[in-house]
């Protein structure tokens, strides 16, 4: 108010202080050190992720061994194609099954109070901590035709261990914690008033879940599923025990790479590896894009 009453000093054009120039694509942040932080990020990503992947590409494309046509030839071999299909197909299905399973678990753990909740909560992380081989042996023991669950499966005519079903079980097992842990913090932070508002507006339990809770969870559910998928694609230890490893039937791509390495077919192994990297990267990019679009909804 007093500001208006005071005569304003006349400002000549030249006296306007020059703003420091900023790069147009860097969003201004109150935190300093963008340059340094970005530098380190790029350095680490480069040293830890990009460099090995480049080496892999170079290894696979070594012209004196295979050449581009050789790589394509190696990948279209029926055994390789079958392994890639099995790995990515089962990983995707396992990750998708982990979505409802993980949602249920996260929901139970974060919404209800019951004795032993903390123990159950800690158990979720166990697949993270277990050496994958141990998990594989344990799962095999349970699902083998003479194992406690395997015999039940066998009675209804399903071969669990040494079949794609067994691989699927192992992939669900190792993927579950990713979904649960992605969802839990979001579920805990969900505003109860929003659900109550939906309730007063006449929404029943299903409508509240579908229209209010799930949309809020969707971004983290997707990121949990994509983590589970990524982990499943690369999973080796727990799968090789339960899979039976029959070429064309229950042989996963990571195992095929190991087999090729053992046969000194380095270029062939690298070619399969490269294909896995390319498919995984494409899939994760697609998932991240969807997730980003979902997360942006409702943000300014």
């Amino acid at each position: 108010m007093t500001d208006q009453a005071l005569p304003r000093p006349v400002q000549s054009g030249a006296a306007v202080p020059r703003r420091p120039r900023r790069s147009p694509w860097v969003e201004h942040s109150i935190l300093p050190g963008f340059g340094l932080a970005m530098g380190f990020t790029l350095f680490y990503l480069g040293a830890i992720v990009i460099l090995p992947l480049t080496a892999l590409t170079a290894l696979a494309l070594r012209p004196w061994e295979l050449g581009l046509s050789g790589v394509i030839h190696a990948l279209t071999a029926p055994r390789v194609a079958a392994a890639l299909k099995l790995s990515f197909g089962l990983s995707a299905v396992a990750a998708l099954l982990n979505a409802p399973l993980g949602l249920l678990l996260a929901w139970t753990l974060s919404r209800y109070q019951f004795p032993g909740r903390r123990i159950l909560d800690a158990l979720v992380d166990l697949p993270f901590a277990l050496p994958t081989a141990v998990a594989g042996i344990a799962l095999t023991a349970i699902y083998a035709p003479n194992g406690p669950l395997g015999s039940l499966f066998a009675r209804v005519g399903i071969k669990s261990a040494y079949s794609p079903v067994g691989i699927f079980i192992a992939l669900v097992f190792i993927g579950l914690p990713f979904v649960v842990r992605s969802l839990q913090p979001v579920l805990q932070d969900l505003d109860r008033e929003v659900e109550e508002a939906a309730q007063t507006l006449g929404a029943n339990a299903v409508q509240r879940a579908v229209h209010v809770i799930l949309p809020a969870l969707a971004p983290s559910l997707i990121s949990g599923v994509s983590l589970a998928f990524a982990r499943a694609v690369g999973e080796y230890g727990s799968v090789v025990f339960i899979a039976g490893n029959l070429p064309m039937k229950t042989e996963i791509a990571p195992l095929l790479i190991v087999i090729k390495l053992e046969q000194y077919d380095y270029a062939g192994a690298a070619a399969v590896g490269l294909a896995m990297v390319a498919i995984s990267f494409g899939a994760l990019m697609a998932i991240n894009t969807v997730q980003l679009l979902l997360a942006q909804r409702g943000k300014a």
Binding site: V194, E196, A198, Q199, T200, G202, A203, N204, G298
Partner: protein
């Protein structure tokens, strides 16, 4: 003001009871949140529940919405047993303090929510929902913001969306839980007026929870003052302000000065000041309350409490006068232009409370 004229018109129309709360109690663990609360509201009445935090006003509101189940008591609405109805069948429009909007939906989708979740047989046609949303958007003065997301709105705009969303289901009763609590004073005052207008236009029984006595007195047809889970007093803003039932209500409704006194033989004595005690005043030692701006200042020879001015501070058009009375510091308030000249620190004068209220010592 059109608002005020509407209000008086409303008050004069005798109308039937719509909300009847009787003997409602609720405890959380061992903490009693509501103790045997009973009150009634007339059809289309605007009722404010006023009280400090923890007084049970929000719990009572949540009981009305069905979000909380009372341990005992009865709630009837239009004669119907409300407690046996599940939340989603009560058709109450609830507005929360922190808006509780659906963040992933646009403003229009938020408002349409209550209609679009209805059973197919009861759901209006799509175009009809669209029309209703537009009407509500213009009612809350957000015509052009239907496509925005809540995060792109200001606090005041969000609260208006929340109100439109609650009104969309054509609620039988509107419940507002400190709807302006998270907004700044300027926006609060604007929305307050506007809310009253919306209420009058929508013609729906409204229960409004607040801890701001100015808001309650300004808005409501009747105000219920709550403390520790009990309803202390219920009446029109004038009734409760002029005749607070107890010292707590007196204190809560505005600034108060308090002096010890004695009532004997129809006379009230406070220090060296004696006056007629109001009829029905308690006998013996009492507490005398008066508003800091309801006093007459007189020269030392006049009637009233002997006082010495300690400090005078202007605060906009009002002047705060700090006085020493009987060893006790009282803060009085006067309107600047009507203040006698010469009131300055060190001056001896007499203070005569114009409308003292007498309460027994608790």
């Amino acid at each position: 003001m059109p608002v005020n004229s509407l209000r008086t018109a409303d008050r004069e129309t005798p109308s039937r009871l719509s909300l009847e709360i009787s003997g409602v109690s609720k405890t959380f663990g061992r903490f009693p949140a509501l103790k045997n609360v009973s009150l009634q509201a007339k059809d289309k009445e605007f009722l404010a529940l006023l009280g400090p935090s923890g007084s049970g006003k929000t719990t009572l509101l949540r009981v009305l919405a069905g979000l909380e189940e009372p341990d005992s008591g009865e709630v009837r609405f239009d004669g119907e047993d409300f407690l046996s109805l599940p939340v989603r069948r009560r058709k109450v429009g609830m507005v929360f303090q922190h808006y509780a909007l659906f963040r992933h939906m646009t403003v229009a989708q938020n408002i349409a929510f209550g209609l679009s979740v209805r059973k197919r047989t009861e759901r209006p046609a799509r175009s009809e929902i669209g029309d209703r949303v537009q009407t509500l958007l213009s009612l809350v003065q957000l015509e052009d913001l239907g496509k925005r997301f809540p995060s792109q709105l200001s606090g005041g705009q969000r609260q208006r969306v929340a109100l439109a969303r609650a009104l969309a289901i054509e609620p039988r009763m509107l419940l507002l839980d400190e709807p302006f609590g998270a907004l700044d004073a300027q926006v609060r005052r604007e929305l307050r007026r506007w809310l009253r207008e919306v209420h009058d236009r929508a013609g729906v029984t409204t229960v409004f929870v607040t801890h701001d006595q100015e808001e309650a007195l300004d808005l409501a047809d009747r105000v219920g003052i709550m403390r520790d889970g009990e309803l202390k007093q219920l009446g029109t803003p004038n009734e409760v302000y002029e005749n607070p039932a107890d010292p707590f209500v007196y204190d809560f409704l505005g600034a108060a000065c308090r002096m010890p006194g004695v009532v004997a033989g129809g006379r009230l004595t406070v220090a060296d000041w004696e006056t007629v005690a109001e009829k029905g005043a308690p006998q013996g030692p009492v507490e005398v309350y008066f508003r800091p701006d309801e006093v007459a200042l007189a020269p030392p020879g006049g009637a009233g409490l002997a006082a010495e001015v300690k400090a005078v501070a202007a605060r906009g058009p009002d002047v705060r006068i700090e006085c020493l009375v009987e060893g006790q510091v009282l803060e009085l308030e006067a309107h600047g232009p009507t203040l006698p000249a010469g009131v300055a620190p060190g001056l001896a004068l007499r203070i005569k409370p114009l409308r003292p209220k007498i309460y027994t010592i608790a």
